[in-house]
Subunit: 378 residues, 2 copies
C-alpha cells in the first residue's frame, strides 16, 4: 500500500504552510484529510482563521519542487501510510495539546539511513542543556546500555544530556535518532555539526519543521511531543524546575509512555525538576541502564537484581554465634566464662558457639584464652 | 498510676540478664509478665533455654543496687506504665523480629532532662557513618527544619549522618535524643564525648542496654528497632547497600512508620541503598525538611508547594504572541510581512501581536522595522 502522490503533495504543502504541531492544522488534517483541507485553503475558505494566516504564502508554495529540493539534499518526507511511518505517533491524535501544539504531524522530514519503523522499541534520553558532569556520565551509561540491548536511543541533539545520550549510543555502534526543532537540513546548535553529520550518516535526523526552518522556541515545544510519542519510554536525566525536558516528560505522561527519572543531589539545581517529579510519583526512579530496560521491556524480562553487597563469612554465622563473637574482646584473649558473661549467655552454649567460630576461622585458642583472628576484625 | 516497685526491680534484673531486644526475653515478658518471669528464673525453671543462659549471672544481679548506682550517675530506668513511657514502643509487640531481636523493651535507661513522652511526634534522621559532605548538609537542614517545627529529632549518636542530624537539631536550640547501643553512661564513639554531654544536658541519651554495656554489633540491630519505633517517621539520608540505616528502615516499614529517603547521585555508593529503596517504592522521596514535615504531619497540613521557577514576563504572553516574538530576527529589524512569513501567520494577526508585544516591552519600532528589546533577549 502506498500513499497517493496527491496526498503526499498536499501534506508537503500543509507542512510548509503551518507551524509544526499547530493544533488548528493537525486538527483540520485529522478532520478533513490533507487533500480536502489543502483544496479548501486553495479555494480561500477560512477555517478557524487558518485560511487568513496562510493566504499570503499559499500561492508561493510548490510542494513538488519542495520534495525535489529536499531529495537533492538527502531528505525524504515520511507520511502516515508509508511503510516507514512510526504508527506510535498516531497516539498523538487523542493526547490533547500543550501550548497550542499537539496532534499527529502532517509528515516528518528525515535525513539518514535509519528506517523509522525501527523506532517502535526506542527509548528517549533527554535532559538539561546545562548538564553537569554527573548527568553526562549517567546519560551516557544509560544510552549505551539500552542501545546495546537493541533499543534505539532518541534525543534532541542539544547540548548537555542530549549530546551525552547520542554519544553513549554511538559509542556502541548503534544508530541513534535526533529529533530536532529546526529543519532537518539545518544544524543547531552549530557546535554539533560533526555529531549531526555522524547521526545523519548512521541513524536519522528527524524534524516536523520544513527544510530551512529556524529553531524558534515554540518549535521545541512541538518537537518535544514527538520525542515522547516516538519512544516506548522517556528517561529524564537532569532537568531544572524550568526545563524543556519536563515538557517532554508531560507529553510522555499524556501518552501513557513510561516516564523515568534519574535522581540527583537535592542540592543540585540541575536535578531539582527530576527530583520533584520523583517525589510526586509521576516519574519512576532509575539509576542505570539496567533499570530502564526493566521498565521498558515486557513484564518479567530484563529483571534487575537489587544492588546488594556480597555475602560475607560473618553473614553465614547464626545470630547466636555473632553474639558470642561480639563478646570476644578486641585486644586480648578471654576465657569462655568471661565471654559468656559479656554475651549474656550460658557457659555451655558459649562453648558450643566458640567451637563453631573456631571452625569457621573467626577465633583461635591462645595462652590467654580465646582471641579474634584477622577474619573477625572489621 | 505508678509502677509497683517489685515490677520495676524485676524489669531491672531482666534487663541486666538479657541482651537488648533478645526475642526470648521480650517474648517471655509479654507472655508471663516481668515479676512472674523473674520468679521462674530464680526458681531455676528453664524457659526456651533462657534459664540456662542466665543461671550463672542470676545470683550476682542486684536490681536495687543497680538502680541506686544508676541514679548516682544521672540515669533513670523508664518502664511500661511510667508516665514517661513512650507508648509507641508497644507497637513492637506485634512487629516480629529481625536477627532474633524484637519485642517491647523491658525498660529504657535514660540520661538527660528530656521527658520521653515528648517523642510522640519525633522524627528519626539516620544514615551512613561514612557520610559525604552532601549527606551531612542535607541531614543538617532536615533536622533543623523538623526541630524548628517542634518535632524532636532522634538519631543514633554515630559518626556521619547521625552527628549531622543531632547538630542540625541542636543548632535550633531544640532538644534531641540519641538512642545508643551501649550503656547510656558510656560514650561511643569516644570522639563524640562533647556531643553526648550536650545531648545529656539538654535532651536525652537513651539505651535499652544496661549501664556499662559495650557497643557490641548485635546491640546496634536491637537499638535500630527503637529508633524506628519511637519516631513518627524515619528519614534515611545516605546509606550504602549494606548499611545499618537500612535495618532501621526495615523496622520502620514493619511498624507502619513513614519511611523517607533522600536521593543522591546514582554514582555515589553512599546513596546506593537509599536510591534502591526509592526505586522499589519502599521509601518516599524527600528533598528537604519541608517534604518531611508534609509526610509526618496530619493530612492537609504542612503542604509543600512544588518547586517552581518564577513566572517571567514571557510566560504571560499568549502562545500566538510568543510565536510572533520568535519570528522577529535577533540581529536586525524586520517588517511585519517578513515576520508574518517567518511565523507562518497572517499579516493582520501578526500586526495585532506586534502591537501587544510592543506594549509589553518585547519589541520596538525602529527605522529598519521591528526590533527585539533587551527584555526579549534570553
Amino acid at each position: 500500500m502506498s500513499v497517493p502522490e496527491q496526498e503526499r503533495l498536499a501534506r508537503v504543502a500543509l507542512n510548509r504552510l503551518g507551524e509544526p504541531g499547530e493544533t488548528r492544522m493537525t486538527g483540520l488534517v485529522a478532520e478533513l484529510g490533507p487533500v480536502r483541507l489543502h483544496e479548501l485553503l486553495l479555494a480561500e475558505t477560512d477555517l478557524d482563521g487558518l485560511g487568513t494566516d496562510v493566504a499570503a504564502r499559499l500561492a508561493a508554495v510548490d510542494p513538488a519542487r519542495d520534495l525535489e529540493r529536499a531529495e537533492r539534499i538527502g531528505l525524504r518526507f515520511v507520511v502516515p501510510g508509508d511503510d516507514e511511518w512510526p504508527t506510535q505517533l498516531d497516539d498523538l491524535a487523542a493526547a490533547g495539546s500543550l501550548h497550542e501544539r499537539g496532534g499527529v504531524p502532517v509528515g516528518l522530514w528525515v535525513k539518514g539511513p535509519f528506517h523509522l519503523g525501527g523506532l517502535a522499541a526506542s527509548v528517549a534520553v533527554v535532559g538539561s542543556r546545562a548538564a553537569t558532569a554527573y548527568g553526562d556520565d549517567v546519560a551516557g551509561e544509560i544510552a549505551a546500555t539500552v542501545a546495546t540491548a537493541g533499543h534505539t536511543v532518541v534525543s534532541g541533539g542539544a547540548f548537555g544530556i542530549d549530546r551525552a545520550a547520542h554519544r553513549g549510543a554511538v559509542s556502541t555502534g548503534a544508530p541513534t535518532v535526533a529529533v530536532v526543532a529546526c529543519g532537518a537540513d539545518r544544524v543547531y546548535p552549530a557546535a554539533h555539526e560533526a555529531m549531526f553529520d555522524h547521526i545523519a550518516r548512521t541513524g536519522a535526523v528527524v524534524s516536523e519543521a520544513a527544510p530551512g526552518c529556524a529553531p524558534h522556541r515554540i518549535r521545541f515545544l512541538a518537537r518535544n511531543r514527538l520525542i515522547a510519542a516516538l519512544s516506548l519510554g522517556t528517561v529524564v536525566v537532569e532537568a531544572a524546575v524550568r526545563s524543556g525536558a519536563l515538557n517532554t516528560a508531560n507529553w510522555a505522561t499524556r501518552l501513557n509512555r513510561t516516564l523515568m527519572g534519574v535522581p540527583g543531589p537535592v542540592t543540585s539545581g540541575s536535578s531539582a525538576g527530576v527530583n520533584e517529579h520523583l517525589r510526586s510519583g509521576t516519574m519512576s526512579l532509575v539509576t542505570r541502564g539496567a533499570d530502564v530496560l526493566e521498565l521498558v521491556s515486557p513484564a518479567g524480562t530484563h529483571l534487575v537484581e537489587p544492588a546488594r553487597a556480597e555475602e560475607t563469612a560473618r553473614d553465614r554465622l547464626t545470630p547466636r554465634q555473632r553474639q558470642v563473637l561480639d563478646a570476644v574482646p578486641a585486644a586480648s584473649g578471654a576465657g569462655s566464662d568471661s565471654i559468656a558473661r559479656a554475651a549474656g549467655l550460658g557457659l555451655r552454649e558459649v562453648r558450643g558457639a566458640l567451637g563453631a567460630l573456631e571452625e569457621s576461622g573467626f577465633v583461635e585458642g591462645a595462652l590467654d584464652g580465646w582471641r579474634l583472628t584477622e577474619l573477625a576484625r572489621p
